[in-house]
Symmetry: C2
DNA sequence: ATTATACGCAACCATAAGGTTGCATGTCAA
DNA sequence: TTGACATGCAACCTTATGGTTGCGTATAAT
């Protein structure tokens, strides 16, 4: 569980929006999430770019994914964030 | 107070070490901090690179600096971190 | 069976990020 | 006042990052 990956994953605004959405709706497909970002947050992005972002989030442990048929189901996991943010707080 | 700058500032391991040190010892000069990182954390880095990192941290509001004679005094400020980490925690 | 769907993978591109070297400048000590 | 010291500034370089296009593939729908 490399914390560096968590910090780096959170450094991109698009990935933070993705976490916002996944935080609200616990389970989504990659396709749903992409559509949601485009229409609700006016993000201009391709599916392939979204897939890359999801991979970054998954390597950081912030997202768990599971292949179900032709869909990739995404679930948010807040545990890495908890282990990372208290570092400089007393 | 752009939160994006905070996330980006935290994305680099050297800057995180700098915050660690500044969190421990509230007031340091840039020179002290550089020396401390090199000897205590075995970071191979130049003074100029450190100055760049400090500027990034300052723009994010994580460090306040004040010119005192020929020294630049650095003070850690945890307020931006508090405003940034509860985003995905219930 | 054929077509549409949701996704994975790879190559490629432009910009940002982190680092270095070199030089200039203001401050302090001898 | 002269020199060492702590820092600022700018140009430059390398690699990482975020994005794209193109193609392949397994699943689902018609």
């Amino acid at each position: 569980m490399h914390k560096d990956l968590v910090y780096k994953a959170l450094a991109d605004p698009t990935r933070r929006l993705m976490l916002d959405e996944l935080c609200e709706r616990k389970e989504q497909t990659l396709y749903e999430l992409t559509a949601r970002l485009i229409v609700r947050h006016e993000v201009a992005i391709s599916r392939q770019a979204m897939a890359k972002h999801i991979n970054v989030l998954e390597r950081a442990g912030l997202v768990r994914s599971e292949k179900r048929g032709k869909y990739r189901m995404l679930v948010f996991n807040d545990e890495p964030i908890r282990g990372v943010m208290n570092r400089w707080l007393k």
